[in-house]
């Protein structure tokens, strides 16, 4: 159902954008761009989904429950925050890992904490994109400013 809603929403926006393109030349350029993006993204999605599936199978439920289940406490928060940045690959990997952990018995608040830590501090993204494209000063300043956020999210998620 979630997937259907997202598909309909994004499909409508895509059609609207297609209609906004002024002429055939622009439509061709839009399709060419989309095709280039597909070539870049498709191999990553295939590999990442396979990896996420295998990874989920390897997660031992007892350990997941002990580390990230009810009563995991502060060590669970710290571990969830530490695992975020070292998750390789794109969004699908982090979300798939989060979903697998949830199924294996991790609490929702720790999964939210993990996803937040990943989205702010993904190491591969930071090294490959943010540092070279934003420059050292801006990249490090953002890192510094965002550092408390996963902890605050963990605290808030724990309360609600």
């Amino acid at each position: 159902m979630n997937i259907l809603i997202g598909t309909v929403l994004l499909g409508a926006v895509a059609l609207w954008l297609y209609a906004r393109l002024p002429n055939a030349e622009w439509r061709a350029a839009g399709m060419a761009n989309a095709w280039r993006m597909a070539q870049f993204t498709a191999p990553r999605i295939v590999v990442a989904l396979l990896g996420a599936g295998f990874f989920a199978e390897l997660l031992p439920p007892e350990q997941v429950r002990a580390l990230f289940g009810e009563g995991a406490g502060l060590s669970g928060v710290l571990l969830a925050i530490a695992l975020g940045p070292i998750t390789p690959g794109g969004a699908f990997v982090a979300f798939a890992v989060g979903a697998a952990a949830l199924k294996a018995g991790a609490t929702s608040s720790l999964v939210v904490t993990y996803v937040t830590a990943w989205s702010l501090f993904s190491a591969s993204r930071f090294l490959a994109y943010e540092l070279p494209l934003m420059g050292r000063q801006l990249a490090l300043r953002r890192l510094l400013l965002c550092l408390p956020v996963p902890f605050l999210i963990a605290g808030a998620a724990h309360v609600v």
């Binding site: 954008l17 906004r20 990442a48 396979l50 990896g51 699908f92 929702s108 994109y129 801006l138 400013l145």
Partner: protein, 187 residues
């Protein structure tokens, strides 16, 4: 919204291309291969193949949504060129500038290869460090395209809503903090 008009007479802008296979991809591929090998080792070939089949089915279910999302991310930069967005955000200041930057960060689709250069260009057209930080933080935490394509596909709806709600104030707070801490020096 910047103007989407006046594009008919001009040719579409060139978009940069990037190599398909880079270090990030190899890291991902090696991780997936290692995880697959461990599944074969511990659970056998049958289990590994069953997982691979399930994942490919899942991908087929997601395919229309991914295709639509990619078309949006590929077309929007044509209609809303980078320099226009940058000028649009650079013009604003104060709380309005932060809100606009945060909104743009969540709404403009695109991966890191598109977002970081866009954010860096804000500085060149007059945006302050607060707006730049609000934009990047908002994109990282709240990217709409990413949430619609990926997050809702994997995680339970209520969890996603809670995460989005909890994260909602942070782009603005980070922007304000950036102004307070770094704003005086070289912004």
């Amino acid at each position: 919204m910047p103007s989407l008009k006046n594009t008919a007479a001009e040719p579409p802008p060139e978009q940069p291309s990037r190599p398909v296979f880079d270090t990030g991809f190899y890291i991902l591929a090696v991780s997936a291969l290692a995880a697959g090998a461990l599944v074969v080792l511990f659970k056998g070939w049958d289990r590994a193949l069953a997982i691979a089949r399930d994942e490919m089915l899942f991908m087929a279910v997601l395919a229309p949504k991914i295709a639509a999302g990619m078309f949006i991310a590929a077309t929007l930069p044509l209609l809303m060129p980078r320099d226009k967005v940058a000028i649009w955000i650079g013009r604003e200041s104060g709380m309005r500038g932060l809100l606009l930057a945060a909104f743009a960060g969540a709404a403009i689709p695109g991966g890191p290869a598109m977002t970081f250069p866009l954010a860096a260009s804000f500085g060149l057209v007059g945006a302050d460090i607060g707006a730049i930080m609000a934009f990047v933080t908002s994109w990282a935490l709240l990217s709409l395209n990413r949430t619609l394509i990926w997050e809702f596909s994997f995680l339970p709806v209520d969890l996603v809503w809670w995460r989005v709600l909890l994260c909602l104030p942070f782009p603005i707070l980070i922007g304000l903090a950036a102004r307070a801490v770094f704003g005086g020096r070289d912004a």
